[in-house]
Amino acid sequence: MLTVDRLTVSYGPITALHGVSFTAARGEITAVLGANGAGKTTLLRTLSGLHRADSGTITLGDEPIGSVAAERMPALGMAHVPEGRGVITELSVEENLRLGGLGRPQGGKVTDADLQVAYDLFPVLADRRAQQAGTLSGGERQMLVIGRALMARPQLLLLDEPSLGLAPRIVAQIFALLRDLVADRGLSVLLVEQNARSALSVADHGVVLDLGRVVADSDASALAADDQLRHAYLGF
């Protein structure tokens, strides 16, 4: 689904990613793991077109997307789910969802039926549809950003730290939902997480970054079983 090949990215004089390569397979959950400063955020921002790579290629399906602008990504079938703080707090819940729908490849009006799909997935959002998104709790915000990304009917979902600041129960709920989405809709997911234990429990495949380099790339279960790796890079 998504192939990253020898990606090197820098911010000013600092090189944040050194020739990173990996593949996120179709219909799977791929977790990108690593400590703070490993380059996860840089990777995500580069994948979604907010930042340009110095060299290397990014391919979505068959299409190279290394020089595609961020605002064109939804139309190519890739939706970036910023962490829960990425809700637009001043807009209502429904307006946030509607906005997500406007990015669909086929365009067109966002109908009530479209919205209903999101509300069926997250009934709590239906109750709060007219509220300002800024009034939502952390868990509800995370649901809103995921629901909003799904409105664009993407093939690939990029998730930025969905567990950040959430209670374990809510994290489990959200990860279970991701599994269902992959199973039911054939969605592919790239999950960038610091919380390695939870992420590996849900992912099919894992990539571990350290100081901007890939230090492990393997099945999720294999990574979770590698004690040395876990202690050195994953902190559990």
Binding site: E71, P74, G86, I88, R98, L102, K109
Partner: protein
């Protein structure tokens, strides 16, 4: 009683103009988080363009349209060519930039159109209506002013509340990066915001100029009143800007009528400070915690 009524009516008409100008400021604030102090000379320039068209023998309405269209273009142009480049820089840079534009447009107009007062026509009567045997301070042009401002406000509310374009514009204003990730062409929305604002500002310029004199500096104090009106309304809300404009127009009209016209600007300053100290989110906000 007569004076009271006339002061109120005069204030309402004046307030409508402030409201239009405040609307322009609010639109730009919403789209780019910049208070456009250059709005005054921008409106002045487009009013002069209307005057050139009218003086060339064409109808008032052609001049009117020319001003609005040139306002639209001027706003888009300035955003694309100049304002865009301070995006993401310290907020003081944007303020200084719009003040620089203020000076530039001002002197440019003086060079091109001349520095003297010129009279500007009005399409409707500028004498008060007669009610019974009395003349009240509401003119045909005053009614036109009020209606025009209300219509524009209505259209803007429709745009922002009920259209996808309006939703995208608001999203870009509130959180540009997230809006981009959702596929919104943020740059275009900002340009559009400036263009629309400049159009509304041009309308304000025409409404102030109608039946009066224009000069490169004739809008200068209006930028202050427009700003105060916009802050009264919370700086973020088109409806708030209109109500703020009307409230300010009425208050200042009473100051002018009963205290002295020289102190109008001082009164505006006091009102501004009171609002910022007591209700920084505007008259209609429920919260008081807001950074101003």
């Amino acid at each position: 009683m007569q004076q009271l009524l006339n002061t109120a009516l005069g204030g309402l008409t004046l307030g409508a103009v402030y409201a239009a100008f405040a609307l322009a400021l609010v639109l730009i604030w919403r789209s780019t988080r910049v208070v456009n102090f250059a709005q005054a000379p921008m409106a002045m320039v487009t009013t002069f363009i209307a005057l050139v068209v009218i003086d060339a023998g064409y109808s008032y309405w052609l001049g009117f349209a020319a001003a609005l269209v040139s306002g639209l273009l001027l706003g888009a142009l300035l955003e694309r060519l100049v304002v865009r480049h301070v995006d993401g820089k310290a907020e003081i840079n944007a303020v200084i930039l719009t003040l620089g534009l203020f000076i530039v447009l001002h002197s440019l107009a003086a060079v091109v159109f001349g520095n003297e007062y010129r009279s500007f026509p009005a399409p409707f009567g500028i004498r008060g209506f007669e009610v019974g045997d009395r003349t009240i301070a509401l003119t045909g042009f005053g009614v036109f002013t009020l209606v025009a401002v209300l219509v524009v406000m209505g259209l803007l509310v429709l745009l922002f509340r009920f259209t996808d374009l309006g939703l995208k514009m608001r999203a870009s204003a509130f959180n540009a990066e997230v809006a981009r990730l959702l596929g919104v062409q943020v740059g275009r929305m900002k340009t559009l915001g400036w263009a629309l604002a400049s159009l509304v500002g041009s309308l304000a310029g025409l409404l102030i100029a109608g039946g009066s004199l224009v000069h490169p500096g004739y809008m200068d104090s209006i930028v202050v009143y427009g700003f105060v009106a916009a802050v009264l309304g919370g700086l973020d809300s088109p409806a708030g800007a209109v109500v703020g404009g009307l409230v300010l127009g009425l208050s200042l009209s009473f100051v002018s009528g009963y205290v002295g016209s020289q102190l109008v600007a001082l009164a505006a300053l006091l009102i501004l400070m009171l609002v910022l100290m007591l209700k920084p989110g505007g008259l209609f906000s429920s919260t008081t915690a807001r950074r101003v």
